[in-house]
Symmetry: C2
Subunit: 233 residues, 2 copies
């Protein structure tokens, strides 16, 4: 959608069910991309160029275990792009962002909020002026990311989500890192009311998360190796 201030696109990578986001400042044409996927870098670069945007930032919400980030490949196409990641991630990026640090995208300002729990280096990005938050795998539509590897910690995730995401105004839109059922966004109001996991008491939430018994992700070894080094393979 295009508003007077924002150029916004959500994109989907089907193999890993990942959402990628393009956020552009309508006034200056400066832009950021959130969670690009290596396999769809060409698609995304083409769209960025056709939208006449100048890519400045490649924001990863965390060190992904299910796909290789597209940030290194995008930086080759857009040399002024800088990759960003939480400074708690322990991984490499051009900029390591502290909790509550702000990044500028032209006249737009996004705040990095550390939301650890799915991994120790997860962050969400808040675009306050437009009422949007990009939550990565910390908070999904009626769900949340798993907490059983990559220093995952259900207790920390519960606190992160309630203190840093669901404390935003009710009408904020939530754009997650993945969805597996065709849902593309949610809102703070809805997740506070209908998220079947996060509406549990903390003790019950931890119990649930520690007993999910999920399969080991298919791409994890390849993905982590690359993503710890900013997607360079």
């Amino acid at each position: 959608m295009i508003t007077s201030t924002l150029i916004f696109r959500q994109l989907f990578e089907a193999r890993s069910s990942t959402y990628t986001y393009i956020i552009g400042c309508a006034a200056t044409r400066k832009a950021a991309i959130i969670d690009p996927v290596l396999e769809t870098v060409e698609r995304d670069a083409k769209l960025i160029s056709q939208l006449d945007l100048d890519l400045q930032l490649g924001l990863n919400t965390h060190v992904h275990a299910d796909h290789v980030t597209g940030t290194a490949a995008l930086a080759k196409i857009f040399p002024s792009m800088r990759s960003c990641l939480s400074d708690e991630s322990g991984a490499k990026a051009d900029r390591l962002l502290a909790h509550r640090e702000k990044v500028k995208v032209g006249r737009l300002e996004m705040q990095c909020r550390h939301t650890p729990g799915h991994t120790n280096g997860c962050s969400s990005y808040v675009l306050d002026s437009e009422g949007l938050v990009f939550t990565g795998d910390a908070l999904l539509f009626r769900g949340c990311g798993r907490t059983d590897f990559q220093q995952g910690d259900a207790s920390r995730l519960y606190d992160s989500v309630w203190n840093e995401i669901l404390s935003l105004p009710d009408n904020f839109s939530i754009f997650p890192g993945h969805d597996y059922n065709g849902h593309m966004s949610s809102s703070v109001r809805e997740e506070k009311k209908f998220n079947p996991r996060l509406t549990l008491e903390k003790k019950k939430f931890i119990e649930l998360m520690n007993n999910l018994k999920l399969d080991y992700p298919k791409q994890i070894d390849r993905a982590l190796l690359a993503n710890m080094k900013n997607g360079e393979m």
Copy 2:
């Protein structure tokens, strides 16, 4: 996204790569759904209820050949819902809409524009106040629907798209009926400039469309039989 006037959701059905849209009036909670799919009716009904919306209209952009519409099933869940279709479709619906006829969704108003060519009964729905147009298969991201069955006609499609869709203001967002590469929306500006088919001269466009040699759609017999009768099976 939620604005002060609009509650808006885009949803995806993966088997047929169909986009479904929920459009709600924030003031009155009245809502419409565009192109629901039978297989995802439960998902969509649940979301409509959780968003506290009162479903009034089930709009189909055309008689689909690739999936069975969810309108009949939704009308069982939301008895005040009325299905709508172009009055040129030759198919059954609660309301058959004339070219440029308007339908109300609470305080929002959508205009039905006949955009035949993919089928003879295609229509697009324009939500002028928000700068949105829902194009079904008439216009897709950098593409358009096929014209080789269901009274398809490349010449009519070309005229429909240019006269009824790409004549809208440049900054209007285009929400298509399908996408197969993870693109979710476009804009009038972009399609006027970058659509590889519609930017051709009319003669070249017709030639291209008449030589696509596409496979016969998998679900067409089941889908058309049901969709001609409003999705009743």
